[in-house]
Subunit: 139 residues, 2 copies
Amino acid sequence: MLELTNILKDHNLKVTPQRLSIFKMLKNTTAHPSAETIYTSIHEEYPTMSLATVYKTLDALVKHGLVQQLNVGEDSYRYDADTLPHPHIKCTSCHKVVDMYRVKSVELLRKEVAEMTQFKLSHEQLYFYGTCPECQNHT
Amino acid sequence: MLELTNILKDHNLKVTPQRLSIFKMLKNTTAHPSAETIYTSIHEEYPTMSLATVYKTLDALVKHGLVQQLNVGEDSYRYDADTLPHPHIKCTSCHKVVDMYRVKSVELLRKEVAEMTQFKLSHEQLYFYGTCPECQNHT
DNA sequence: CTGCTTGCAAAGGTTTTGCACGTTA
DNA sequence: TAACGTGCAAAACCTTTGCAAGCAG
């Protein structure tokens, strides 16, 4: 908790209960919630908080690189407190989004793309879609 | 032209001038236009066409797999008449989106992801971001 | 105390919908 | 002619903004 406070301070972000609560929630989940989901889940604890605050806070966190914004092809964004860019995979059946780490081929892919396009790459967003093991079973 | 007509017919889509015009435009560009862009560009030829028609048409084309919808991280979607899934790269300076073909590492990546997650993969969206060769020069 | 943050309400932009009319097959 | 597509306007939806009041540093 204190750690999160310091992270915010280090980025010259004022520490408010709302911010901490949003940041904390994102740090403690791997569920990639949307702004709406974050709002709903925190609303119990902070009934006066508005959606606008959630968006402003998320915006601040994203701008400071403390959280990343995902565009999984839904109407809304999802957020991930894991800042290291990593591929995501979404189950088209239960809609959950799962992180992937240490995907070795990514480095190779990046290299191939850079050579092929002559672009100076900054980052990438890699999204996979399919059916998760659980959903494959109870069909 | 006739070919496009037949493609539509094969998918039980009635052939209207508006549809043909939208489909044709998408087939003849590599620019990945948004709905708004498509609307504007076709509006000269069909001044009475409405944006709603553009959306409904695109929706139909996407549902029938004749066009793919891209989510490059803007507020709106972009469309690509090239149905074979392929990675895209967007210049963060001039905002153009470029197609990539025959990226060999993708197959490897797909295999690695499938093994790692045990998902049954259906498709993927691979977006890269960076500065294109042109924009790298006139800085 | 000063500037940043909050919360409300209203606006913005994209996409969707309902419905009457027109058109395709 | 029956079903589907079009066009208009209005609605829905997510997100942003303006501004007054509140709070952190």
